[in-house]
């Protein structure tokens, strides 16, 4: 019994342990910014990642409120991996920040919220997990305490997210009113498809759409990414989005399976809008963080296309894509993070002539962008390919064709950065940057991930088998 409890909740327990030891350390020591401190936290996160792979079992606790399966544990492991990469990348930033332990406490509590959200079998736990994963992030967006852009980002994030949670809560309350239950398994049984229930469901959907930055609920995204510290923007764009997308798929496929006609319409409309608007805006951005924000919005559109497939292949392909997306987007963000925290240059024009001074970073950036653009043989290509094939299983070729054409459009703007780095001259290029061990490890993980995940065909098969429950 106790063993089962530990095995099922090991991810959450592990995070809590790290969280509270950080808290105690913060209170007990004054010397929080020594090198040893950073080494320790990253080692802890590495242990956290490794522990996640041990003893994976399926089961539920607290009367079905907390559910876990091997697939969910895999998703948590993916998030842990992303967390470790971000923590390594954040090193140049946190090293100089006064509140580094708080930075990690907030980051970890946000991940904790995501884990509970992933495992939730009850709307209450889901809601608390969602808030726990958002509120600390708003504080983190404001972590450049003396910069007005950062406060503005924090303000926009907390205001918009509170507004959207009001809608989400409205949806939850009506869902409760129309089904009489808050637990997912009960709700599934009570769905009738009455208009008010559809209304409640759409409000829930909107809450998800806001967090996933699906157009037209995406407006906060770019502003927050631009103002927030790069590590936080990377976290928002990668970890936060992946977690929500995982939950989204699970909730749509298992809880609201009978409402497939509703969410198919919603996904169709929003996928078209998301890909189109994301691409249009990405084309015209000058700030590289804003650019990555809009490009990641467009990526979410592709995820929606995959989800609209509605089969187990779709679920597996979404997870597979997100794994690749974590590597690719964190590769790009890693470079931006290093450049930004050392030179505080964030405009695309600043990257002109980057290859001359920093060839290694330029190559990493290029490979990551190629993967984001879906150019073979990088992993991103396979990710998109599986998503589109999964989406095609509903036979909606219009949507697939639209997505595919937009892949070419996205090529245009990703290449623009590559062009700026390799092929354009600049009188004052970014100087040669030397960076410490941690970010280099993170970048190596990303590049290896981009190059290998595409080439190991067994990975997708493995995820697929987990998703059908073998």
């Amino acid at each position: 019994m106790i063993n089962e409890f530990i095995y099922l909740m090991k991810h959450e327990l592990m995070l809590c342990v790290i969280l509270f030891s950080l808290l105690i350390m913060k209170i007990a020591s004054n010397d929080e910014n020594s090198g040893r401190w950073h080494l320790m936290i990253n080692l802890l996160l590495l242990v956290n990642l490794l522990v996640g792979f041990c003893y994976n079992i399926s089961g539920e606790l607290f009367n079905g409120m907390f559910q876990s399966s091997e697939l969910i544990q895999l998703e948590k492991n993916i998030l842990n991996l992303g967390l470790l990469i971000i923590s390594l990348q954040a090193h140049p930033y946190t090293r100089t920040h006064r509140h580094a332990p708080e930075f990690y406490i907030l980051l970890l509590s946000s991940v904790l919220g995501m884990f509970f959200m992933l495992s939730s079998g009850h709307l209450l736990l889901f809601y608390i997990g969602l808030e726990l994963s958002t509120i600390p992030l708003a504080a983190l967006a404001n972590f450049n305490l003396n910069k007005s852009a950062s406060s503005e980002a924090g303000m926009k994030m907390i205001m918009s997210s509170a507004f959207s949670s009001a809608f989400l809560l409205m949806g939850i309350s009506l869902m409760y009113g129309t089904t009489g239950s808050l637990s997912f398994s009960e709700i599934t049984l009570q769905l009738t498809g009455a208009p008010l229930q559809v209304f409640a469901f759409v409000m829930l959907f909107v809450g998800f759409a806001f967090k996933l930055s699906i157009v037209p609920f995406h407006f906060w995204t770019a502003d927050v990414y631009e103002g927030a510290p790069v590590s936080v923007a990377a976290f928002l764009s990668v970890i936060s989005k992946s977690a929500i997308a995982f939950v989204f798929v699970t909730v749509l496929y298992s809880v609201f399976e009978s409402m497939v006609n509703v969410w198919y319409i919603l996904l169709f409309i929003t996928a078209v809008l998301t890909i189109g608007i994301g691409n249009l805006f990405a084309l015209r951005q000058e700030n590289i963080k804003r650019f990555l924000a809009f490009s990641s919005i467009a990526q979410v559109g592709f995820i929606l296309v995959g989800i609209s497939g509605g089969t187990q292949e779709s679920e597996a392909s979404v997870i597979y894509f997100l794994l690749i997306y974590i590597f690719s987007n964190l590769g790009a963000f890693g470079v931006v993070n290093i450049v930004s925290s050392i030179t505080s240059k964030e405009s695309i024009n600043d990257y002109k002539g980057f290859y001359k001074t920093n060839p290694a970073l330029s190559w990493i950036m290029t490979i990551s962008l190629f993967s984001l653009a879906g150019i073979p043989p990088t992993a991103g290509f396979f990710g998109k390919l599986f998503l589109l094939t999964a989406g095609a299983s509903t036979g909606n070729y219009v949507l697939i064709a639209f997505a595919a054409i937009n892949m070419v459009v996205s090529m245009y703007y990703y290449l623009r950065i590559v062009k700026a780095m390799f092929m354009e001259a600049n009188e004052h290029p970014i100087q040669k940057i030397s960076f410490s061990l941690f970010p280099s490890i993170a970048l190596i993980i990303c590049i290896v991930g981009i190059l290998l995940t595409g080439f190991s065909g067994n990975l997708y098969t493995y995820i697929y088998e987990l998703s059908i429950g073998i």
Binding site: C16, L19, L61, F62, N63, M65, F66, R98, H99, E102, I105, L106, S109, S110, L112, G113, F116, H122, L124, L125, I128, G129, E131, L132, I135, P136, A138, A139, L140, N142, F143, L145, N146, G154, G177, T178, G180, A194, P195, L196, F199
Partner: protein, 172 residues
């Protein structure tokens, strides 16, 4: 119409009027006071519904906590005396239209819905039951969310402290 019904409509009118004044008054401080009234009205509504515990929490947390917090923040940002800038005409117009039509739509849906009655038992929101719900070691209890929400409050507190703490003069 019974006294109970009259009481309800009075409370409802009070909540709504205080609410409308909260979002339209010129002076920020007065808006906070109207919010206070509106929240007290809601507490009264809970009381009327015989959910005393919720009414108590409403008074303690909202009236005693959040409104006070808001009033402090009004002082901290020196907004207590000034008139707030009036809302942009165009946005008020669009928001007004949007809000009214959305409200009408929602009400139509609510009224046309056939409400399924789950059970005929008597509602018993006693403090003991609530206590069991929150922290007891029973399968149906909300003990896990209860633990989690404590982490949430902790994180929010740390976030607030880091952000709102007055910046020390730069040592480095």
């Amino acid at each position: 119409m019974s006294a109970s019904a009259i009481a309800f409509y009075c409370i409802a009118a009070f909540i709504l009027i205080a609410g409308i004044l909260t979002v339209t008054t010129k002076k920020l401080f007065r808006a906070a006071i109207w919010l206070l009234f509106s929240l007290i009205g809601i507490a009264a509504l809970f009381f009327w519904m015989e959910v005393e515990f919720a009414a108590a929490v409403q008074v303690i947390v909202y009236v005693g906590g959040i409104v006070v917090l808001i009033i402090f923040s009004i002082f901290l940002t020196n907004q207590e005396g000034v008139n707030m800038p009036s809302a942009l005409k165009k946005r008020s117009l669009f928001s007004g239209l949007a809000v009214v039509s959305a409200a009408a739509y929602t009400c139509t849906l609510l009224c046309s819905h056939y409400w399924m009655k789950g059970s005929e038992e008597v509602f018993d929101p006693s403090v003991k039951k609530i206590g069991y719900l929150l922290v007891a070691n029973t399968p149906e209890s909300f003990v896990l969310p209860f633990e989690l929400v404590s982490v949430l409050l902790l994180a929010a507190m740390i976030g607030c402290i880091v952000i709102a703490m007055k910046a020390q003069p730069e040592s480095k």
